[in-house]
Symmetry: D2
Subunit: 357 residues, 4 copies
């Protein structure tokens, strides 16, 4: 039997936007058809939203993107003022990004593991699989324990996921898990430094959830730290109200897509006539025929009054192929060069906040 | 221009399990190939988990299923002791099921609307579209307001989504929106009566979220009701610990799938050696190639120690086709006839609960 | 190592339309959404084309359908005057239907073979795999040789595939491989008896191709039997001209779909103003985004003047699930009860035919 | 109403391999996951088959690829000895490539046409649509007539599609539709010059089919030109026998994939023990779950003894995104620089051929 070490040898490496000037390639694709033309149009919409000084850019992440080699793309987007807020599944932010920030890696699995041939053996070795990628389950447990430790250190009350993720950034700083100290950069830390708020509306559904379960279990009968996802929604809606022109760059669908689209309606419910998202791009492999939100078209979202249809583009492609082209295009066209970050985390910390009991 | 009334004429009608004895059809499919054989195998696994007296059955719902005519299938499953807990997206439970419980309906959209031709017009008419289905946005706002009213009536503290959804069931009883009073039955009400807990781990991501935003906004600076999704996770984990043998019937993927699978690991984190889910069926149109959780195979989940592989089946089909066959098969084979409901909601109300500050 | 006999034990069994009255189920689906509603609408369009006395019904087959348990559905459609011509891939007609007519069977493969785990072993055992189904390669070679024998018995000249497939029907009759003699019925034999022409426009691309290669190789330098696919096209176009009202029932896409749609244009090229196909249904899992014909919508075909859009329906579902519902619906509604077969094979044998040199 | 000229303004432009050095990008993708890693592995397998001096490279084309801006990729592959034979759908070669060789173009359609909104109008304007691309139907008719003219000029007998396509190359030379004369290069012409045989096994299923129908109709009762697809199969099998080491680069599935894979078995039937295809890459958006050949895995093909599994890779992506990366990688790594074309058309013209009566 193969040993654990033999299987965890080749780490996934994160692609670097700066190294690949894809502008001529994407420009050529604009005159082709199907996904290539859609990709080129999406790239130009993302460029346009960055050049629009008023526009706040919200990045939505679903699917296992960090484990797939896209961490550095998102870090570069944060560092280069190409994104103002992030709405994500918990797994991307905690199990994968924060996990790598702690010094762990994802590993390349051989093609023969892709279809489930070998999962029994992996189980015994405590190796977790994401399609063609391996994770050391023992390292993942350290990640769970680290989130528990962070939660234990917070005053017992209800927090938005954003506030807790900010604490995770502070933890990385305290522990010296920073680029300045010779470690890899991460989304959590870059967002902490650049004041980009990160929301995980289903925050219990990830490694942090394990931390929370342990925390709340240990403190039965005593006050605990809780996650108020309603507060997440309230905070993001406040940002929409403070900065009415917005654009969405969505990778995958799921909760992040729905949540980010819904803030237009939420603003209305608070009595503020907020405009629909002015720009919207979604990269997905889902399709629209089962009626699920993940694959539903942006035109459909316009019937709900959430997304304007002038600058919207669905790209039906897998993100590791499409995102380096779309983000790389905007990067190398220097679309954000005149742009300042909106520092939305600061905006939120100045808000009068509701008091969760 | 067509009027709103002209577009909202033909309601979606919910299919009735009792009226369609699909047993011979599904049995024939067992000797065919591809999705028909997978469907038949999934049906027999669901039958098997119902006949296993020890097994607690967790139903996971993602995608717009209630609006698609499947409400009565789930109600019948609850009423006939075919499900012990539900983990769902908020939209299915609040925007669609509770919405219909309030007396509203979903409407059939013409084929010509499916691909976005007409969304501008729909926007003006305040009609929301889900693929081939229409919703009256003004009725949806009433649903938002009703959740706000319910939330306003609760003592300010952190609740699991389950507790809040239970309040919604109590509201329906108080208001007489029950079958006994001549109204349609609903998932929320049937689950309330049968003590089946319903969890929406991303509860702010639906109509209830709008209710919460309004509630928390109105009470800025004062104690508010909040949703603690960590508590959801804690509660569902407690059920796994109390009833170690479990089976999953999952429609779609997303947060409900991940959340329900994760409780095996969460139990372990609490120091309890809980077995993997013994049975697992997933109906989905997603595929596994983008590495996202929604389409990831159940074999992959076994590498994480979450799902056993003896009785697992992926069915790659759209749920409105596959679920009436799978649920109908178990229903007409009377698989649950000797089964009592686990009344898990009562189990939870007897737990010593953490105190969210 | 498993033996060949152990792997080839459980044959695929063909579903019987007569045994499953799906009318109430399909009628219920008409009021639901997504694929169920599409399926119901497709069923009612197929019903409508059968009730239209003028309409000639062309059935198009792509994908491995016979090996999947659908043979009897097509046989029943032929025997009950529910189809007037068939356009198919060669594999369905020769490697699968004629193969079973020779007394061979397809076998159920265990779930663990689906994803390629075990193909090396299968290779050694001379077992061929189609996803979840096994074929004995030695039996398939007998099928190849039988087609060679039939070809060897024909006068050397150019034939349409239809003429050769008709010879295969005559062969079955001569050899007593008929239901009257206690054998299973087959598409090739039923079509032979009912004068339903079968076209395989890419006829070399199947077991018959192996027969042809052997035949032409053995006769190098001498006159050979050849397949003129242009003659196929010419013949089917003549049928369109003789019977202008037509409907298409298409399972899968590929060459059969394109070929059958194209006869409208071909008639025009012969100077006859033929109407577009009046009815069209396609069942497919392909999608439209790659621009390939297989998944292209029937609306797109209308831009080419091939398909009218009043009665067209795409059903995005796998055929083993959707076809028993669609064909069974028309069958149990007795849509074809007043219908006589068009006996198109006789029409063609009376045509003045081109002389292939 | 928009005029035809207004809709046919922006031509599709073909991407140029030489202009985009994708090597660093593809190398980075090799350390990522999902489709990007698959793409990188496919690129390195294609590189490897070009560096293997013994290997004959067979390119298979299905889907509308030329209309999508990939014509120049294939022309460059031919001109740079990166392909030895082509197996294609008729539409790519005749309706699209030969069509452009005649001086016509494909045009970009606005996003609003993609989903069928406007097909009625297009029908009236005689504009044909392929997803997001327009074709002038009147120009397509000229293409049909040109093939008829070429066929009319040939001696009446049975030809392989390869022989007829070669005539189309000769026609372009005679008519001066060559790069030397200032016109665009084409697959048909480049293959003619480089002695790369092109096979369209379902040759009646394209614009050439219209030419044939007209030809055979005009000559009823007289000897006609016919297409013998069995001869295609025989010829390609002879090439496999003459050059046993082969690799497949397949875009899409359908008849070309099946046909090219089958020659291994056909050789065996002729008594020659030919090795399986040593290398195989397929780019497709189809999936394997419906059992159809287009999406079936290359591992499955190995159970049939057609494809070796050491160097095989499925890439689940749309071709306009993936092919410029895969072909461009091999091009810029100069994988074929030491390679001479196999000039297989010459090999075939020296064969003793069967005499089709």
């Amino acid at each position: 039997m193969t040993t654990k070490n033999e299987l965890l040898t080749t780490p996934v490496r994160h692609i670097e936007l700066a190294e690949h000037n894809v502008v001529p390639l994407v420009d050529a694709m604009a005159s082709m058809a199907y996904s290539s033309r859609d990709t080129a149009r999406a790239a130009s919409i993302y460029e346009r939203m960055l050049r629009d000084g008023e526009c706040g850019v919200i990045l939505c992440l679903a699917g296992s993107l960090i484990s797939a080699g896209l961490q550095k793309v998102f870090v570069d987007m944060i560092r280069n003022n190409m994104v103002d807020a992030i709405v994500s599944t918990g797994a991307n932010i905690v199990d994968q990004d924060f996990f790598e920030a702690l010094g762990f890696r994802h590993y390349i699995a051989g093609d023969e593991y892709k279809y489930g041939n070998g999962d029994g053996e992996l189980r015994e070795l405590m190796i977790d699989r994401i399609y063609d990628t391996f994770i050391d389950e023992e390292e993942l447990r350290i990640c769970d324990e680290t989130t528990e430790k962070i939660i234990n250190g917070m005053a017992p009350k209800a927090y938005s996921s954003r506030e807790i993720i900010r604490e995770m950034g502070a933890y990385l700083e305290r522990e010296g898990r920073t680029p300045a100290a010779g470690n890899n950069d991460s989304i959590v830390f870059a967002a902490y430094e650049k004041n980009v708020p990160i929301f995980c509306p289903a925050f219990s559904d990830c490694s942090a959830g394990f931390g929370f379960v342990a925390h709340q279990h240990a403190r039965r009968g005593k006050p605990v730290v809780s996650i108020d996802s309603a507060k997440d929604f309230y905070e993001l809606t406040q940002l929409k109200i403070a900065n009415p022109t917005t654009g969405l760059l969505m990778i995958g669908g799921g909760v992040p897509k729905n949540f980010a689209q819904d803030i237009v309606v939420a603003a209305e419910i608070l009595g503020v006539e907020a405009p629909m998202h002015k720009y919207a791009v979604q990269i997905t492999v889902a399709d629209s025929r089962d009626g699920a939100l993940s694959g539903s078209t942006l035109k459909e979202a316009s019937s709900w009054g959430k997304v304007d249809t002038t600058y919207e583009q669905m790209v039906y492609a897998e993100a590791t192929l499409a995102l380096p082209l779309i983000a790389g295009y905007a990067f190398h066209k220097q679309a954000a060069v005149a742009r300042k970050g909106k520092r939305w985390a600061e905006v939120l910390s100045q808000m009068t906040e509701p008091v969760s009991a």
